[in-house]
Symmetry: C2
Subunit: 551 residues, 2 copies
């Protein structure tokens, strides 16, 4: 393998970064850090792929070709068709790839996977366009989330696996003193992957949410079948094709990782998930299917499901800076992020700003004005909002008038200067009672709920209770009082929710950085897995220790 030494350095830096958890990024998130011709080449590759069969996979002759992707920006079909295989073929291929892949060992597997990341890097700009026109993400986010951020989270999981699989000695001599003599036993310790792994992709972050599980399973010696969402295949197809190229280049079976394309007419996720040969499942998506997967016997299931994220207002230095920051957070990708804030808890007594108290009504009005101003800012609004991935989300976002709540800011279509047909919807703001059922469900998409509370303690109890029952991935809290900060932190961590305090400026609660932030705690109903804690890799294999009496 070319650049082996360089690849080993990348891996070791990532292992160290996982331990240190301060800033580290292997892949630069700014598009300008890449070759000058890269954006145009990526766009060309994207245009050339439209309305063509996706021929880059190394999975052998397919049974059929299928594809049903639509761009949320143009509302036109992408016209790309992907090779379709029977689940029998996919499982047979995976079973055949398992033993050689396991025996390759962690060092060889890890270097092949770093090679794959370097190959994927060469496709970042095509992946960005593919992500944009399947998910509806704005271009900058599509580039960052599916490109460098995805590669970083994949590398993070790979590095965690590398550390875990090399933490015990491969072999040792064990000596037991027995008084006049001793017993010597030679022991070896083998990490053995649990079996075929299934990754079920989602329609909003097809690459970012799938690659950590794919890389963790491959690193721990398990073949992977990737079942993308039928509406967001293209970005993952590029990633899988590059993984297959890296496998082939190293003399391994490219079918160690396979793309399993299905259609809304015949979805195959259940069929694959229930097959006894499938021992590991990664899933991002709604609660109902996630709960079903978690209930399957004899599987290790890793889920990221829905949650109700909260914003707790107590006291601030500068309310405008806070509201500006939150306007961006609720607008970013039109609230279609699992980390987007939903429930805004504001005390009826208002929010203290320095020496003064801003009354409740004024806070709410200024929040409304800030969001309205942000989405109508021609340079900020359209690019940040992106487009709504599908009609169901649009219907929900537009249907806020029918909810039992006062509408403070109505949703509206925001014109996108680049794409006249873009499916857009600005965040609406509604006001609901603390006792309302509304605030106890995820309202996926651009919907903000303002809740008047008795005081900060009441806000925290609501956020805590809803997180424990319904799950939560993020909580943004604003307080200038150290004791209140400690109270919020302790109470929210009892619901397994991380808190981001006092974010203003160019950092938002939606963001979780690889090599530093764990994404999802795994402790509440929003998901049972965490990117990428030791469990995320350790649950994919077991240690088997053999021993042999020495003469």
């Amino acid at each position: 393998m070319a650049e082996k030494k360089e690849y080993l350095d990348i891996l070791k830096r990532a292992v160290e970064a996982n331990r240190l958890r301060s800033f580290f990024a292997q892949y630069p998130e700014h598009p300008k850090a890449y070759p000058a011709e890269a954006p145009e080449k990526g766009m060309e590759a994207f245009r050339a792929q439209l309305n063509q069969n996706f021929e880059r996979l190394l999975q052998g002759p397919p049974d059929d070709w299928a594809g049903e992707e639509f761009s949320p920006f143009t509302r036109e079909a992408l016209g790309i068709r992907y090779p379709v295989y029977s689940t029998e073929t996919l499982l047979k291929n995976a079973a055949a790839a398992r033993s050689p892949w396991r025996k390759a060992g962690i060092e060889e597997r890890a270097l092949i996977l770093v090679d794959a990341l370097e190959r994927i890097k060469e496709r970042f700009f095509e992946i960005a366009n593919a992500t944009m026109h399947t998910t509806g993400q704005g271009w900058v986010m599509a580039f960052q989330a599916s490109g460098p951020h995805s590669n970083d989270r994949a590398l993070e999981a790979l590095a965690m696996a590398y550390e875990e699989l090399t933490r015990f000695p491969k072999e040792v001599d064990w000596v037991k003193p027995m008084g006049k003599f001793e017993i010597k036993v030679h022991k070896c310790f083998h990490p053995v992957g649990k079996g075929i792994s299934l990754a079920i992709g989602c329609s909003t972050f097809p690459v970012w949410n799938s690659v950590p599980g794919i890389f963790a399973s491959l690193a721990t010696g398990n073949p992977v079948i990737v079942k993308p969402h039928p509406g967001a295949v293209y970005p993952l197809a590029i990633v899988i094709s590059e993984l297959q190229e890296a496998l082939l280049a190293a003399g391994h079976d490219p079918k160690t990782v396979q793309l399993a394309v299905d259609s809304h007419k015949k979805l195959i996720a259940k069929e694959l998930a229930e097959n006894p040969a499938v021992r590991i499942i990664d899933y991002t998506g709604g609660n109902e299917f996630g709960d079903y997967l978690e209930s399957l016997k004899g599987k290790e299931v890793f889920t990221e499901k829905a949650g109700v994220n909260s914003v707790i207002f107590d006291s601030v230095k500068n309310l405008d800076a806070v509201l500006q920051n939150l306007s961006f957070s609720v607008s970013l990708y039109s609230g279609q992020m699992c980390t987007a804030p939903q429930n805004f808890y504001i005390p009826e007594g208002g929010v203290r700003e320095g020496e003064h108290v801003v009354p409740y009504e004024e806070v709410v009005n200024r929040l409304r004005d800030a969001v309205y101003g942000f989405v109508h800012h021609p340079k900020m609004g359209p690019g940040t909002l992106g487009a709504i991935q599908n009609e169901r989300t649009l219907d929900r976002a537009q249907g806020v008038n029918e909810l039992e709540a006062e509408v403070l800011l109505s949703p509206e279509a925001i014109e996108n200067p680049e794409f006249a047909n873009a499916r857009t919807c600005s965040p609406s703001i509604i006001e609901a009672d603390a006792g309302s059922e509304l605030i106890r469900e995820e309202l996926f998409g651009p919907v903000v709920v303002v809740i008047k509370t008795r005081d900060t303690a009441h806000s925290v109890e609501l956020a805590h209770d809803i997180a424990l029952k319904k799950g939560a991935i993020t909580c943004a809290a604003y307080t200038t009082d150290p004791e209140t900060e400690k109270m919020i932190e302790e109470r929210m961590e009892e619901a397994f929710v991380p808190v981001s305090f006092n974010l203003t400026g160019y950092i938002w609660v939606n963001q979780n950085a690889a090599f530093s932030d764990f994404h999802v705690s795994g402790g509440n109903p929003a998901g049972n897995a965490s990117l990428a804690d030791p469990n995320f890799v350790n649950r994919r294999f077991v240690w088997v220790g053999h021993k042999k009496l020495m003469d």
Copy 2:
């Protein structure tokens, strides 16, 4: 806390031992390594406890007193009664203890738990008598298994938890360069225990099988309710009382760990397990209840269930030495160990010994003679066999004549010179077909099944398939051929079974050493947990990382 520095050293040595996996034992396994008066004092304490209330627990006034233990050696009731509490009281106590215990932090918790182990050490001899007269283990095994070996496995789990909970920095500053300026965020990472932990004990190894989970849960910040088997409460009661003393001495709530005694009339394991507040369950026992526990939603369940362990004969240096070793293995505690071998696979072409081949029939006859000779050896037999824990196991062991198999060696009572009423039963040997259903079930207790196979490859396939379907914890294999050794190792590890090769002399397949051998792989149906791999502690808590924007 007294001896804090010494305790920290114990802990750090154990962390290092976990990593190195070569021999290390904190607690000496030979009774003579303890003070000369210790055995007599232990016996006195045991005698003084018989027919008395067990008053040593620090759990407050009970609702009732109950106890129903019988000695398998004397077949008389122990007459000890334990305090009984309602499940509501137990859960309320645990919930109250949770937050302060979590906030104590890993360093403080770990030192208290080492202190508890040192206190338990002072009770080893009473615990040995208590174990003997509840489980039926012979005295030497009762001392070793419930004393030093248990303490070592508890320390191993504690050290693994200590390593995991301290592997990430408590706090870091995260800096993101933004060109002309940078963003600084202060982050902290808190391990948060998942919640109340339930440990369900078994009747054969009440201490050894329970303490790893109890210590792992306590170390990771979770209060523990210990529900012993009604027939084997006493040894665990001593352990829990010493844990409570250590908690009290450190100023913590002794009810952070509680003993939950029930009776066969009203078993409370299900009631506790199904309570939503119980988030972690450790269980050792039969498959049916284990499978039920594993199916409960929203719980982390750690199981050790039943399996079918195998012996694979291929070629040997000295057949007598091999048969001697195996005679001990099948006799030790009358086959009532989860690691005891059951299925003996012998090729129809015989077993090569040096230059010669010993025919199948001769191998079987010599195996029978070796077992018969061993159990009738007055110095070896009775002490090794111990007694049968309960009547159901005795009935099964004595019922081999009714099975569809040829009986090669009949079970018989072996007189115990010390206890005329001991419930004893020597191992029987039966011969069954490779296709028989008999060899596909655990026959718990002293039953050996000989299976004639076509060749070693056939033996391995049978052992592999049965392990994958029914589980297996151990496999003993005898071969002098390196290629066959490699074949057996690779095939058995694909069923997640560790193999012990060519054991003779004073080391047996039944034994798994703390700080070196992982006990149970967790990959096949014999159990989903492994003592003590990283999963064994990591699944009990989650990482919650808070962040705060710095000025």
